[in-house]
Symmetry: C2
Subunit: 254 residues, 2 copies
């Protein structure tokens, strides 16, 4: 909103044509776990510019909706998923020339989902796919526009939020094993966590996970069937697991 109250030249009522007009879009980085690796939902562009390249889904904001509503609508249109609680705004991008056709400012959202696989399979397989974020981050896929940077920022945000918020439970289903939850942390952070210590942390204190009494069927390799839990209320106030290297602040110099 204009707040240049001290500029004498500003009229009392703006004429929109006097100020640069922008298109405002909302883009969504949809992340999910697949085969113990972090994946991102990408669509293949069918029109110029960047025709044939991968891009993250998005669309124009409408004047009569909020940014959050626009993101929710786009997510629903794109995947059919209707869960607004996992949508989080994490950045705005407005470099000149980022869209060669016109001035576009985009507001980027992060969505963490489970079971996107079925959704993607239902759409045109050639137009949408789940791809490992590692490939997008290392530049193996060159994405359209500045979407590589947006995806990078989104993943960085997830890495931080995993420690500070309860975003971890958004990656798993309504019921899950401790090992599934641990796999989320290990995949996002790229570290190995001790299974026993991890379990102690989330199971010992009540509020994090609630036992359902049921057990999961072991995988193909066998093993003891794991307990099935559901998420407790404590995840609303941040996650229980800290990044391994984070407590060792101040080291590594001298």
């Amino acid at each position: 909103m204009p707040t240049k109250t001290r500029d004498p030249g500003v009229p009392a009522a703006y004429n929109p044509s006097e100020f640069p007009a922008f298109a405002v879009t909302v883009d969504i980085v949809i992340l999910t776990m697949l085969k113990s690796r972090l994946h991102v939902l990408l669509v293949r562009r069918g029109v110029a510019p960047f025709e044939g390249k991968w891009a993250i889904p998005g669309g124009f904001k409408r004047p009569n909706e909020t940014l959050d509503e626009a993101a929710k609508r786009e997510l629903s249109e794109e995947t059919g998923v209707d869960s607004a609680s996992l949508l989080k705004q994490f950045g705005a991008y407005g470099d000149p020339g980022r869209d060669p056709r016109m001035n576009v400012v985009t507001v980027a959202y992060l969505a963490v989902l489970r079971d996107v696989g079925a959704v993607v399979a239902g759409t045109d397989a050639a137009a949408a796919a789940l791809l490992p974020v590692s490939e997008a981050l290392t530049g193996k896929l060159d994405l359209a526009f500045d979407h590589a940077r947006i995806v990078r920022d989104a993943v960085e945000r997830v890495r931080v939020d995993l420690e500070q918020t309860g975003i971890a439970t958004a990656f798993v289903g309504p019921t899950f094993t401790v090992a599934e939850l641990r796999a989320v942390y290990e995949a996002v952070w790229g570290v190995h966590l001790d299974g026993a210590n991890f379990r102690r942390r989330v199971v010992t204190e009540s509020g994090w996970v609630i036992p359902t009494g049921r057990r999961a069927r072991p995988g193909a390799a066998g093993g003891k069937p794991a307990e099935l839990f559901r998420a407790g209320r404590m995840w609303k106030q941040g996650g229980p697991i800290r990044h391994p290297q984070s407590p060792e602040r101040g080291k590594g110099n001298q």
Copy 2:
């Protein structure tokens, strides 16, 4: 950017008139320490709407500059300060009707400065002032547009960043005492920190603060003169002080 690749109706080259046009502005929440309290720089609006109300400074983004550049330019125009390193984007706001005149999407930036007092004194005193954030947060000041929400989000961001980044040193001058630095944490978090423990944390391990050999003059109340330090390189990798309540996660329930 438009990525609705599967929509058949999208032409290869957009006609800007076919899509809703928005004005894009950049607003800056400028925070500083004054009398051991957190203050925000506000300007008094001279024109409708919200004439006479307080607002945070900002202005229109130009088509040929990035959002970061626009924020830097506005900060310079508003305060004369030319330090881009302390500018951080923290949110975008685009609710319909947030500006009664036209569709405006604003991208909000946070700037942490010291010595804004001299800058404010130099401008028209009636048009700009440093006010305690507590008054803006509690609703004592009713701000223009949705600026109350924006200020609230900015302060929340600072509270988090104080723990995770080296933003604390941006509040103090090039040389500072340990007590000055501690006052920043205490003011932003609203807690009391033990002076001895605080000092041990930042002084013991090298890299956080570097002694200058000089001493500050005691305040009006007297006391032992404090050592003067300057910021070390470790602040680039996060702050050394943790929020007191943050390690006690998972308590308070059962």
